[in-house]
Every structure is written in structure tokens, then in C-alpha cells.
Symmetry: C2
Subunit: 457 residues, 2 copies
């Protein structure tokens, strides 16, 4: 391994000669001195270059070593350091000295630099500027490079921490991780919005969710989760729709109804928040983002009651609606914050008509379902509920929707072999991260997003 | 939540009335007594049914409760318990009594049972038999049900534990988890064996690996990993090829060469073994499988030296070959066990001609690469190596192979913006699990496998 100390460790080495390595984040030229700011995975380190001719002896080797002794002035100076473009990868040996004005209180002096990459081409925008100065299309077109910007990078640190927290919470609750097929024989779940694939000469589809597989695996492990990609041929070109996103899926058996699923969902979200608090604090600070407090019991409201509240508050009668409009989700989030002091709100009992056929009806009010959504900061981030678990109930549900059971035979098979009452939920990782970080567009927190218009990089 | 104790907890409740719930794994009828064996996620519990008429009062309700008082004889007995088919899901309340012959030393008596599922149809083979009595196609055709067999289920517990161990080892080494696109614009990596998809009316492909994305993300996080599906349109119908498998991918920057990548790979494998030891012990015992000892330094041999050894030992001159045949991999594994007492062996320096274009050559012997494979119990389970990191080296490598650089432009972009020397590796989770558990066919340890002939369930 290239022997080096990380920039965050420099203060521990004051008085020693050490080697650091990273990207040339910024070069700042003052009259009598220049600074190189080196970025590595731990943060930034400052390197002091003395003015031309007055500095430390430096080595030059035919294998790419650079003599960083020149003052970088816009004109005339031709020393190699002055010419090194930003984003070039450098290894720099030097003496660590204390400097209260440097990041972490230490900086590197008397530097000898070696270039590890080729000379970098200028990135599409200045990665060292605190704010993003490029448009989203520019950022996305050059994602392999622009993701290096600390603000963009932070979003993915938070996504990674969130996924880890989801898994930790469910591991602690006795769940088993599964890995399910992403290529399926028929587009059973939604019918529309599926991508077709040429599977050894016959048609197949990309899975819209692991729904059927996670249900089947309740029969094996009782409690399962999966973190993986799902695919939607979304014709919508909005700030929250993607053709591929990361779904945090969970499913568990032996529930009484959806009110047994919601606490598990609560714990998963709390685990995600805890993990971000623990591992993503610098990223959250950089983004100026705050974590929600997850109540021990997240408040909940029935869909019908929610619609009455909205109708009463807005004067518009929405009690006949089957789903929440985005404006209603925002209104309910404001209401939950006002009434319950919670940024999270479960809405339960969505009308069965707005839910997939596998949704369990509310036995007491069959127009409504045992389904729920979790709203957070104005948007639905989780969908879940109790599922049907008896074979005959599936046949009846399909018949009631006028659907032919034949294409569902493979899916329905397991329900004739003994399945307990069960339910589950799915969290969209990118949408969650967007809400958490305040990103206006989910693409800002999606690694190389895929949508109606974008298939690269 | 349905209030219950897990079967493994029964011994803690001797003398109490408790409720258990699970699948009717087996019904055993003796002359004067019958036993129900109930399976839940923690194991098996034995329930004692007294002979017909001599038992405890039991309830029957119109909502599906079953009176388990009957002796189950093949003829005549019509009590509901006697008729309950295996795999039906039951909730059973009863008195816990000590019995040294019962699983865990406790059993449930005076039972009152409630049926939670519909009456189960008989599964395609007896799930309670210790050995699998069905053929692999039958097992796979009915996977949602047959996976409940403890032997099959065990393989997936081991896979889950392995994935968790991989992540834990890399988290501890400062890696960041990433989630990359599975739909890509061009089939750049291999050229062949890709699945084509209809992406909003234009052609796209399923990703054969996250190779290019994980390399790009080294520029952002230095050290990244991904656990996710990869897709290969493998025309091979063998016991180790799948159309989709789970790839454990890692990539890290600031390496000197592949000898800096191999220790990280070693630690990842050691983490997987540790996790299986910790979380998968019952599954390993059930399968009669043993864990390898992972040496602090896994022995390694150069490809050229390996070919000389094989040639000398077998009398067949293979020194001109560019790759290892399966028989050679087996021979080398036996050699490593004999010479080094290790079930794991790195083979380094595979000829460049057998490796993808992004492979870094050995600077001292350009016919060979800075690539490596890890062999385990006769098979390659990991492929890795150092990659090229300079833009001009990529252009030269493509030209040397007669490849047009145009389709690679998106991939190559990041290398013109400063990339450190880097490398990585990928472990096939299913193939690893097969080697660990002794499964002859990787499909036995793949959840709902996809191959040339199989697209469902």
C-alpha cells in the first residue's frame, strides 16, 4: 500500500516528516507563498509551497516527480507544481507543523511531491468552490468527476449510512437478508411501467420490486429483508421518479394486521437515523441538514380521517378521493408537526382500490385496506401493509379486479402451501436521502441516475 | 404481533402455558399418542396430542380453530387435527413440560390449536425428511415451498451471513457502500454475454458488473464496495454458471500493485468466514460443512510458476496456456493444501491476454498482468487485480486489442480527471456459498436461480 497518513491524522504527527496522498483540491497563490489543498477520503490537508527560489530543495525524477518550489503566478512561472492542474493525484512528503489556521491545526511544509495520476484535465466546474455552480444536467453528465464535490459526495455517505442502519435494525430483530431475481417471467405486479428484456430469445421483464419473493421467503425465514435495485419504466419526468432506485424491502410473518408492521418500519427508520447520526455527521453538517426525531410511536391517522381534516381545513371536499395528492401529503406533514411535533406520520387504511391486489382489506371496513404509507417532510417515503395470505383470498381479489389468475399461478403457488398472516414495507433509499438532505431533486442523491432521458454515464 | 414464544425458547417456560406458532412440519402417529412437530424460524417444537377421546378439552371456533384431540390413524379418524396437512400454519397454546427426548428438552402438552393459514396442499416432497428426496428441477420448480427444507434453507443462511461478513470487514477498513446502475448504455466490459433491454424505445443492456462504476467511485471515496446483482447471458448450462448472481465487489485506491489488493481480499474472505462461524453454525452443522482456516497471509503463486508445476507433475506441457483449466484449478488447490496447509490459494500474474483491457500489466513482465484469482476448494471464487489508472494507458490498451475507443468514452472520462493507482476484486456469493457448503450445483444455493432454461419461479 502507498504508505501515507490521512489528512485528518496530520495533527498527530506534528514535528515529523510524513507522506500524504490525494487529489489536488485547490491551489491558492499568494504573493510570497502558495498553498496546495489536498483532498483525501478523510478530509483536506494544507501544503505550503514557499515562493519560487526561496524554498526547500525538491527532487525531480524522470518517473513523474514534481518539484513544487515555484510560486504559481498566472504568467511566466513554469515550475511543475505551478502547472499541476486541480484534480491531479499527488503524493506529498513533508514536515508537519502546527498552524491554527490550517484544517485540523496542522499543515505540511518542505514538500516533495510525486504525481500518481496523469495530469488532470480541468473538471467541468471548480470542485473546490463551496457551492455547486453547475446545472444538474452538467453535474449528471460528468458524474464520475462531479461526485467528488464534497456536497454531492455527502449525499452518498448519508445513503450508505442509511442502508447500513436499515440492515442493523432488522438484523437485531431477527430478519434474514435475501437476494432475489431481478429478471422475471411476467410483469405481474403493476402490469405497466416494466422494462422488457431479451432473455435468451424470449421476452422477460425487470423486477419492479421483490414483493412476491419476499412474501414467499416469509415461508422460509419468517422475517426477511433485501436491499437492492428495482426498476420502473416511469414515463414521468419529475424530480422524484427514477427508472432504477434502491429499495429497502422488509417482510414479516405472524402479524395480526398492519399495526404490527408499522412498529418494525418505525424501528427501521430509527435505525437509519441513528446510523446517519453516528456515521454521517460531517456530511449532514456540510449539507446543513438536520435529522428528524423518531418518536417511540410514530403518530398515525386513518386515510378517511385525514381526508376529512383536509376537507375541513381547505374547504375542498376530498373525502371521495382514493389517494393522497402531493399537496395533501404536504398538508398532513405540516399537521403532524403542529399536532404531534413529529416530522413522520403514518397514514393508514388507504382505499383498497388504490392498492395492489395483494393488499389485505380492512375486515371491518372493506372499502379500506390494511395498508399504510409513511410520510416524511412532505412526501411518502415508505409504502407497506398487511398482505393477503390465503390462496382463496388471492383468487377472489384477482376476480374482483377482473384479472386472469393464470399469469399469477407461479406467484400464488406458495399460498396454497401454508402461509401465515404477514406484511411488510419498502423504503426508497434515494427518496429518503433526498428528504433527509433537503435535495430538491432525487437525482442529486442518486449515483448515476437512470430516467426517461438519461442512460449514461 | 401474534403473541408467541419461539420454539427454541420453550425450555425457559417449563410449567407455564404458552403459545407457539409455525408450520406443521411433521405429524407422527403412534398407537396411543400423536406428535405434531412445529417449525418456526428458531427450530422445531414438539406438541403432544393425546389419543382420541382421552385428551384435553379443546376449542373449536367458526374462524378456523382446530381441535387437535384426535389420534391420527390412516383410516376412520375425522378429527380436525388428524386432517391437518403438513405445512399448514398453526398457532398452538399449551402447557410446557420437560421431556428429555423432545427437541430442546421441552414439549407442549394439552394443546389448543388455531389454524393461521388455509389448509396446506401437500408440498412436492416431504419437507420433514432429513435428506432431500427430490431432483434439482423439482426443487427449483417449487422453490417457494421447497426452500423451507432445513437443508436448503441453511444454504441461504450461510449466504446471508457471508454477505454480512464481507460488509463488516470492509466497513472496518474504511470502505463506503455504493449502489450503481444495472442498466447501461453499452456492453463495454465483455462485449458478449449481455442481456439487451428495451429502454424507453432504445436499446440498453444489463450490467455485467459494477466494474466501471466502482472504479469511478474510487475517485470519490477511495475505497468502495457493492453487494448487488450482476447479469450474464451465459450460454453455458453448467453447475456453476448463472444468468444472475450476487457479486461482492470492492475497489480501492492508492495501492502500489495487486499485492496491496490481495490482503484486503483476504480480510474480506476472513470476515465472511468469521460471520458464518458466528451466525451460521447450526446451518453449517446441518449441512455437515466445515469452515476453512484463513491464513493471516494466504499463500500465492505466480501463474507461470503454477503452470510449470502442473507441467512437471502431469507430464503435459501447459506452460504456453493463457488460463487455468478447471482441472488445473483443482490440482493447484490440492497442491496448496499439501504444501501450505491452506484451502485458499492466490494465483497471480495471469497472462494479460486472458484478462479484460482495464487490467494493469506487470511492469517487469508485460506478457503477464497484475491480476489475481483466489482459488478455494478446487474453484476460482474471486477475480481481482490492479487496474490501469492513466487515461493514455487505457487508449493504448484498447488500441493494442484493436478496440475502438469511442464506445468507451464515457468510461474513460474519469481517468482524464485524476485517478490514483487502484485495484479491486469481486466474489461470487453463490459460488462461494456452494464451495463452503459442498453443494455440487450452484443452483442449490441460489434463491430462485436464472439460467439458460430457467426464468421462473
Amino acid at each position: 500500500m502507498i504508505s501515507r497518513v490521512l489528512s485528518a491524522e496530520l495533527p498527530k504527527h506534528i514535528g515529523e516528516r510524513v507522506t500524504i496522498a490525494g487529489w489536488l483540491h485547490r491551489r491558492r497563490d499568494l504573493k510570497s507563498v502558495s498553498f496546495l489543498v489536498i483532498r483525501d477520503r478523510s478530509g483536506l490537508a494544507q501544503v505550503v509551497l514557499p515562493a519560487n527560489g526561496k524554498g526547500t530543495a525538491a527532487e525531480t525524477s524522470p518517473t513523474g516527480q514534481t518539484s513544487p518550489t515555484g510560486e504559481a503566478s498566472p504568467t511566466g512561472d513554469t515550475s511543475p507544481a505551478a502547472q499541476t492542474p486541480e484534480e491531479t493525484v499527488l503524493q506529498i512528503e513533508g514536515l508537519v507543523v502546527a498552524n491554527a489556521h490550517a484544517p485540523g491545526g496542522a499543515e505540511l511544509t518542505e514538500p516533495i511531491a510525486t504525481q500518481l495520476s496523469g495530469q488532470a484535465e480541468p473538471p467541468p466546474f471548480d470542485l473546490y468552490r463551496p457551492a455547486l455552480t453547475a446545472t444538474l444536467p452538467t453535474i449528471l453528465d460528468h458524474a464520475p468527476t462531479t461526485l467528488r464535490h464534497p456536497l454531492l459526495r455527502s449525499g452518498f455517505e448519508i445513503a450508505a449510512a442509511s442502508a447500513a442502519g436499515f440492515r442493523a435494525a432488522l438484523d437485531a430483530a431477527g430478519f434474514t437478508e435475501i437476494f432475489t431475481p431481478k429478471i422475471v417471467e411476467s410483469a405481474t405486479e403493476g402490469g405497466a411501467n416494466v422494462f422488457q428484456i431479451d432473455y435468451f430469445g424470449r421476452p422477460a421483464y425487470l423486477a419492479q420490486s421483490p414483493q412476491f419473493y419476499k412474501q414467499a421467503m416469509v415461508g422460509v425465514f419468517e422475517r426477511v429483508y433485501e436491499v437492492g435495485p428495482v426498476f420502473r419504466a416511469e414515463p414521468h419526468d419529475t424530480g422524484r421518479h427514477l427508472a432504477q432506485y434502491t429499495s429497502l424491502d422488509a417482510e414479516l410473518g405472524f402479524v395480526t394486521d398492519h399495526f404490527d408492521v408499522m412498529p418494525v418500519c418505525r424501528d427501521a427508520v430509527a435505525g437509519m437515523v441513528d446510523s446517519v447520526r453516528e456515521r454521517g455527521r460531517p456530511a449532514m453538517q456540510l449539507l446543513g441538514a438536520t435529522l428528524p426525531t423518531v418518536p417511540a410511536e410514530i403518530p398515525h391517522i386513518h386515510f378517511a380521517a385525514a381526508m376529512e381534516l383536509i376537507s375541513a381545513a381547505t374547504g375542498e371536499d376530498v373525502t371521495g378521493e382514493d389517494d393522497l395528492a402531493p399537496a395533501h401529503e404536504r398538508w398532513l406533514c405540516e399537521w403532524a408537526e403542529r399536532e404531534h411535533g413529529s416530522e413522520l406520520l403514518f397514514v393508514t387504511g388507504y382505499p383498497l382500490a388504490s392498492k395492489p391486489f395483494y393488499t389485505h382489506p380492512d375486515p371491518a371496513r372493506p372499502r379500506y385496506s390494511n395498508g399504510f404509507d409513511l410520510l416524511f417532510r412532505g412526501t411518502e417515503i415508505v409504502t407497506g401493509g398487511q398482505r393477503l395470505h390465503r390462496h382463496e383470498d388471492y383468487l377472489a381479489a384477482l376476480a374482483a379486479r377482473g384479472l386472469d389468475p393464470a399469469p399469477f399461478a407461479g406467484y400464488l403457488q406458495v399460498f396454497s402451501h401454508g402461509m401465515p398472516p404477514h406484511g411488510g414495507f419498502a423504503i426508497g433509499l434515494e427518496r429518503w436521502t433526498a428528504r433527509l438532505t433537503g435535495a430538491a431533486n432525487v437525482r442529486q442523491v442518486t449515483l448515476f441516475p437512470r430516467d426517461l432521458h438519461r442512460l449514461s454515464p
